[in-house]
Symmetry: D2
Subunit: 384 residues, 4 copies
């Protein structure tokens, strides 16, 4: 019989809300999970948001002070979905308080903050789960297995992308994401961790990088007092400086010898959220685009002799697909990925076996990001 | 402040479970909904399934006798997700007991059973919601609006498909779906209602049809005692007769003058669940495939003079997309559609304004199905 | 050593020009062909067109009287690319004069005219080649072979389309194509022969049909004196009646038991020239669209267990691809198909083995068209 | 009235043959061209190939000594389609002899050889045409016009690819293409010129680059005496060293501020000939893949407010499309591009206005290639 585990959540923006829903849907999809989440308390500095959201989401209590969440004796596990500038302070405090943490990427404003969190987590011996949920896409898990099993032969080329338009509008508000104090790095912090984690998830460690960066939109309208979460447009108003990069392009060398390119942009008109990758090996190839979550393009030599990419739909047998849908062709949605992530978090706590993506995965990722950052400055290849 | 409404559910197979989850997720996506579902009681003849499922899904009680659900005084609204042969009996009983009903398609084994349900509902004056949830796909709602607004000009051609492989395996078990007693019609009942409802949803009433049918797989393995729900494969075992059709192809004439074709198959190897449509008008065109839930192919003449289909992603502003995701490119999933359907059900009860798809929509649909059935027999065009 | 064969061509519009170029390019792609075309004489009623075109295209002589072509003693083979109303008269005359004929579809205005041509050709014992050149597309030939070899299992479903926009503009001129005197049938003559021939080419004889037709654009601007060939737009001007159908939709039953739908339109906004087909069998499926001439979508079960359509590019080994391009991914063009057709024509003459598509193929096709025509009138299924 | 121009061709492999066919088809598609090619003489060292090919292709004479072509008094223009190691010697000799040259890329084994050719051509004042024929694809020309007209706003990102599988088979023979003596550079010479020329054609000069290279297949079977042209597979046999690179990945900075990535591989399993590009600007985007020669993916904001890539088919009005086909949806083929290139060559000679791609274009391209080559060695950004 499942035992209850007390959950506290810090910040109730997009991600904090999604963590919460994931906890609530967990047993629908993973009925055998040994831990049954109990929503104890949630915090957000905006009082109305904290009260209403917590009420609607089903928390027993709410607060505007995140420390109360961590200190709450009935909270065993903490979801941290605050803006980047709070990641380190909150996560370190939570770990030191002996709480397991489900922490959103990028885990700090800069790699150094991630490393600090990593140390605190290791010292405390708590479980960590990082919001790198693209790993949990069933066709991505299938892709990883195919590669690991050598089904594509030896891998030769890799292309990774995160081409997004969330900041493409020059009137997109100058939120914390564009500020050194708030976010630290730009796309290197906001989306590159997804791209790098995916690359390493599929192909193992990256060894060195060469990179360049650019800020295409250098000024944006300041955010009026009390404005909402997420991305929004402000017409008119004062302009302020964008302090971090819109774009990073890079060349990759993996330890295995694979060569690759990687490109991230938040101001890319055309694709909406093209988080995608392409892998070529000596006997096959595959590619995936987040915008077609449930499809894998797969090229494999087989008995028929036919050559060409095959459009493979997510199906039972790939990752956790059958937890969500009964047959190929029926779409999982984005939010389902967070349910799978919640499961990995709670199951890791339950049996003590740390499932990916853990703090080690993001630390490893941020070492690559760090090397990219250096390379942007030096104009040279940099070792990870 | 939202008031509670007592919910009872009949049958806890795939759809019954999905209705339940939809009730539970409702307020996450529609916080302003005036009714807050309270899960009172659920019924399934398989006792273990009833007990376990109801417990896990959060019902206060469970039973193996569906009549107890209907008679329960605290149940105001009933979800009916039983096999087709129970639709009429259960739905009529529920309506007569004054309960609002959320009823799965096809609403009976034959059109005549649908009509009977229709009469009972009208007489009782209760609200009805039918599981024709493809209507609630955001890009489909957008398509409907574009057509209605004349953005594609006058519509000329229509092609509708439901090409599925759920019964393509000759070892797929001979469940109730293949029996006259259990399902009544074959694809005409199981999937054609979706195709016809979509056609009429987009283009208005169909006036006459010509159709043919075929059963490609004439024998299937009998289902061993106590086997599961849904579709499953049985190796070896006795063979029994398939009693209804695998395939129907038809020609359509709409009252508006539009000409069309329609094709449904449950044994079609290749596509998995290609529920799709294509519309051509004098100034534009569009097409959609359920397997790419969040994409619309849209051809419109515009100021640029460019010609070609545009791949439009679901985005805020289309249907209820923004209830589920914040931006284009982030995928909604199949289950989300049932949340939208639950909302339409409860909001219709709350304010007395019947939202589609109501019993009238399915009655209208089954009149077309009826004409197809006749045409298959007569080899002539039949009026609806 | 190849011997020369004298060629005469009747009409120098789009098709007549293309036949000519095909003759001239023949040996570049089929150097071993035993006949080397010598362009003797060409005819067109528009004198300037005849003179200039023949000169530019390399004919030794020209005339405005097609009879001179047929009577020319050095002409052994005649290309007939005149408007439909001349097909019968010209083709019968040519056959009777003992000339081999390369004749454009539909071979007359009505099936009866095709039958007459068929009889004349059989009596004269000459070789015939009909302009059904979609057969010669390499991936289509590959598709046909796969089906014939049983690689897709038993075929169950077929969908055939020819959805074109060449007549979608209401100001498209009222050329001979829209007149009973000029063209006879509308889409039933102009494009349905391609659709039907393809269906029978892939799956064998069609046994019965049910069909409907419509004329969406009932009036068009009259053609001013002396206007060009092909399709063109006329602004303003007098309007005249369109005398034949824009659209035909049909249901098919093949002798083999396959069921299908077919749809042809010349006024379909959206696709440009969607001559396409989709085939489903019990073990695989495939589909093709003329607009992506060099690609086949192929679904086959194989050792990998992966399910999904594979995008297969035309490659050496498929049909005559390697006559034109050295490797997969390099595109053949439309005109190349006519070179392949010319080869089949001349090789049939050279060795007396009649290659498809012969007059028998088009006669067989027109019997199906005939049944469609009858069904449009009777509203019943009609046997071929 | 068109005057004749004497043509000589050096080498009759794939490209030499294609040049010849292009000359012969020229007037069919460009009847107003002022020069009418007369095929005077062709050279190939393999005597049989020279004799047979020249005969079949219609040359008046043939030789095994390319100097005779250049020295022939009736030859005014020379097509040079010899292996790379002959480009410089032949092209310089031809220019000095006052002959106009149509020269295949890469114009030498190394950039320095290209520069030498460039100087000789400038000094001699002859016309040059380089085989960078991707420029002549109608949808590419349309893309270039859209960008130039500012229709996509300010360009921000560029991705260029040439991912080919022609050398992916480890048993692919060790032809001249893999040798320093024969080819010089590997993909930097063989395909990168296409990628770089396209980038600069669309977006103007590249200013600096960072690049890496790799040779994935380090040994290949030696070519037996007297083997054919092009690419072919040898089973068994002695192995020899591959002397140049299979793969180059690079980062780009354009003078305009655009940032980009570029990747070329000849051993990439999956795509066949993915010569493609993607362009993003502040108001639109587009992408193209050679494997779908006649399609452009185009994203443009327009009056409708719809967002998404539109699949635009090549159509009259784009580049020289209407020289080849009458309407959208009808495919041009690869060989047609060489006809367009022949026209640009002869028209440049006729009126003295040098059309692209001239020797200047390839010199500019090879300066970028040179910088890539240096960057591969230094591990630093290199200025062009
Ligand atoms: N895994 C993924 O793909 C994604 C991860 N994220 C990450 O999630 C984190 C949150 O992002 P969003 O939810 O999109 O941001 P958001 O802007 O929607 O929400 C941030 C919330 O934090 C609250 N907050 C601010 N200061 C606080 C404090 N001192 N104590 C408690 N709450 C405070 C704000 O009031 C707001 O409600 C970020 O680190 C971001 O990188 C965001 C989106 C996607
Ligand atoms: N809207 C849609 O797209 C879909 C609609 N459906 C419809 O939903 C209905 C149910 O289908 P599924 O859930 O797929 O079937 P299922 O086979 O998964 O479940 C049927 C359930 O009914 C129970 N049952 C049988 N007799 C009963 C009785 N006398 N009283 C109470 N429960 C009883 C069974 O034990 C089983 O749990 C069908 O009418 C079907 O047409 C099904 C799938 C999709
Ligand atoms: N295989 C295929 O896919 C296609 C077949 N066709 C067929 O080819 C035939 C011709 O079509 P297009 O070339 O498109 O037509 P077009 O309108 O371009 O050319 C017709 C030509 O016939 C000439 N002509 C008219 N009366 C004549 C006479 N008494 N004697 C000699 N010439 C005469 C006209 O002056 C004109 O040059 C038609 O039967 C059509 O169905 C056309 C297009 C494609
Ligand atoms: N524009 C494009 O996209 C392409 C350009 N090319 C370029 O064209 C050139 C030729 O390539 P392919 O035709 O593919 O090669 P290939 O290997 O098919 O033909 C080369 C020909 O040159 C002949 N040859 C060798 N030495 C000779 C000599 N001393 N004198 C006269 N002929 C001699 C050979 O016998 C052979 O017939 C290369 O520089 C290549 O880079 C090749 C393919 C595509």
């Amino acid at each position: 019989m499942a035992r209850e585990i007390g959950i506290g959540t810090i910040s109730l923006g997009w991600m904090g809300t999604l963590h919460t829903r994931a906890y609530r849907r967990l047993l629908d999809h993973y009925p055998e999970c040994e831990l049954r989440p109990r929503l104890v308390v949630a915090a957000d500095t905006v009082e109305d948001r904290a009260r209403d959201a917590a009420d609607r989401l089903g928390y027993e209590g709410w607060t505007t002070d995140w420390r109360e969440v961590i200190e709450h004796p009935e909270v065993e596990a903490v979801s941290i979905a605050a803006p980047n500038y709070l990641h380190k302070e909150v996560a370190v405090a939570a770990a030191r308080a002996g709480k397991h943490i489900w922490l959103e990427k990028p885990c700090g404003r800069y790699p150094s903050e991630t490393y600090d969190i990593g140390e605190a987590v290791e010292e405390a011996g708590v479980v960590s789960m990082i919001g790198l949920m693209y790993r949990h896409v069933p066709v991505v898990e299938y892709a990883r297995e195919l590669i690991a099993a050598g089904e594509l032969g030896e891998i030769t080329h890799y292309r990774g992308y995160f081409l997004a338009d969330y900041a493409a509008d020059p009137n997109g508000a100058l939120t914390w994401r564009y500020k050194l104090d708030g976010a630290g790095l730009g796309v290197l912090g906001d989306i590159m961790p997804h791209s790098v984690d995916m690359a390493q998830n599929l192909l193992g460690p990256i060894e060195s990088v060469s990179a360049q960066r650019e800020t295409f939109i250098r000024q944006r309208p300041e955010v009026p007092e009390g404005m909402g979460t997420g991305h929004f447009v402000v017409e008119g108003g004062d302009m302020g400086e964008v302090e971090n990069e819109d774009y990073v392009g890079g060349l990759l060398r993996f330890e295995s010898g694979v060569r690759g390119t990687i490109e991230n942009s938040r101001t890319c008109v055309g694709p909406h959220v093209r988080m995608s990758f392409e892998v070529n090996g000596t006997r096959g190839a595959l590619s995936w685009d987040f915008q077609r979550l449930n499809e894998l393009q797969l090229y494999r030599t087989d008995g028929t002799g036919d050559r060409g990419y095959r459009k493979v739909h997510a199906a039972p047998g790939m990752g956790d697909f059958d937890r969500f849908q009964p047959g190929a062709g029926i779409s999982m949605g984005y939010d389902d990925l967070k349910v799978a992530e919640a499961e990995r978090f709670l199951s890791s706590i339950a049996d003590g076996r740390q499932r990916p993506a853990s703090i080690r995965d993001i630390v490893s990722t941020m070492r690559v990001v760090d090397a990219m950052d250096r390379s942007c400055n030096t104009g040279r290849w940099e070792k990870v």
